[in-house]
Symmetry: C2
Subunit: 327 residues, 2 copies
Amino acid sequence: MTHSVQLLGISNAIVDVLAHIEDDFLDRIGAIPGSMTLIDRERAAEIYSMMGPATEMSGGSVANTIAGFANLGGSAAYIGRVRADQLGTIFNHDMRSLGIDIRLKAAADGAPTARSHVLITADGQRTMQTYLGACTELCRSDISDKTMGNPKAALIEGYVWDLPDGPALTQKAIEIAGQNGTTVALSLSDSFCVERHRASFEHAIRNGVDVVVADEDEVNALLQTETFEESLLALRDYDNLFAVTRSEKGSVIVHGDEKIVQPASPVEEIIDTTGAGDAYTAGFLFGWVNDYPLAECARLGTFCGTTVIQQVGARIEPGLMDSYRAQ
Amino acid sequence: MTHSVQLLGISNAIVDVLAHIEDDFLDRIGAIPGSMTLIDRERAAEIYSMMGPATEMSGGSVANTIAGFANLGGSAAYIGRVRADQLGTIFNHDMRSLGIDIRLKAAADGAPTARSHVLITADGQRTMQTYLGACTELCRSDISDKTMGNPKAALIEGYVWDLPDGPALTQKAIEIAGQNGTTVALSLSDSFCVERHRASFEHAIRNGVDVVVADEDEVNALLQTETFEESLLALRDYDNLFAVTRSEKGSVIVHGDEKIVQPASPVEEIIDTTGAGDAYTAGFLFGWVNDYPLAECARLGTFCGTTVIQQVGARIEPGLMDSYRAQ
């Protein structure tokens, strides 16, 4: 089958609003350090008014993966909802400028484009307070043969299950993918997200999802295990391929009886760990859609993740495949 | 006289849209490397569609100075026009979050908030393509006893003369300042701006402006001289205080027969020279409004400029006065 593009992303389309904060700021707003919390519009306005000067840039976990995948040289498309406001224009511009085919028109009305207030403490830790805005209006009618096409792979974000119509629209996406021979990959997003939607994730993984990308904590949350060793045992019961990142322990790909352990690469200086997992996913899926051997997918994923933590900014920059090939 | 705030800025309120570009990009859009060009809305849309992913942050030359001045611990107010759109909200938020008193309400309609496409080549040089948008609607009715108050000093941006009502509104600002014992400082903005408005600048400098802040090229453009040595001779004919930055040659303050030469400080690594002049102005004026001796104003200005070129980002960060005092 000829696939129109290699990878389609379905996720929350978010503009990050990044600011450095004093250590007591998180206490003052009652936020758990390092967490991602969903907030409403009033709370977003309140937190923004308390924040110092900020920098705005396109973000979103799977959107970062899709952008990185495009910068690796892959052909990509994207389904995510923004409003036709200035932040929505920024988000779509940044994706389109990488050659990504934006499948949904920006909404003329409704909630404003989503933004995530990314609060960075002196130690570099990031705490996110996210107002989903226009994302919440993504619904099953946005998912169709027309908007999905027949990509070689589709990557769906766990966070989409937080949307009112999330479970139904992801179900529809998985069905359409199944009809087109599209590999379905699911990113588990974060362990709190897994806790919120464990039963739905389990159902999707057993029914149509082919590949699960996650970090160690998310896998443990999904499988309700205490240790990654227990998770490895529990994964024997799944047909899916699991690509699992483990920070300084590298990554592990588990597929049935096959297990590929990829050690972490040496890192000179960690600048910012944000986006490491999303970059790993971009590299892993770039290998996957190009039919690289699994060990090579793991190596490329790790290379991407390792690069991103040594730079400012969460997205893979152009030219990374050249550096990878030149190794 | 008791002054309500120490420093009021009057300038173009601009959000910067920063992107890294390939070397041939400037050729393709016909831009002069390192220049600032004013563009209309259609051209702005065209250039934006050609640009890669960008980062947005509040900018504007004198707005950067006012933000830096506030971060040094000064009390500040600001007159600049944005629309009540998302970029305008960002601009006003970033200023207000530093304690700056925003004197104009964001406009409910009219042109959108200004943005400057800042195109950064691999060597770090910045070329700006600026769409003035809402700034062009700043007019003399925005300048009043109410909006100006009686600051100790008012800093006006040369670029304001590019606005349709610029010459009239600056004239009014200078008059109100004169009635309140407010020191008027004029930033010459850039040498092309000086070429565009030399006669108006000359008139303002002879009639109400007390302090001129500029770099060497701008002073030479104003005085129509070839060398800075010629400019120094020509400046004997002015009553104004001139605070002039000269990059690696440091800075010179000239006031009548008084001449204070401040050598540049050693710099380990230049990260980004953007904002060096604006930061110098913030430091110089912070000293000025606090009645520091002129030599101390020069030292603080140079300290601020030197700091900013060794960091990413054009604005002075909080805590700089602590570093200065700890020297």
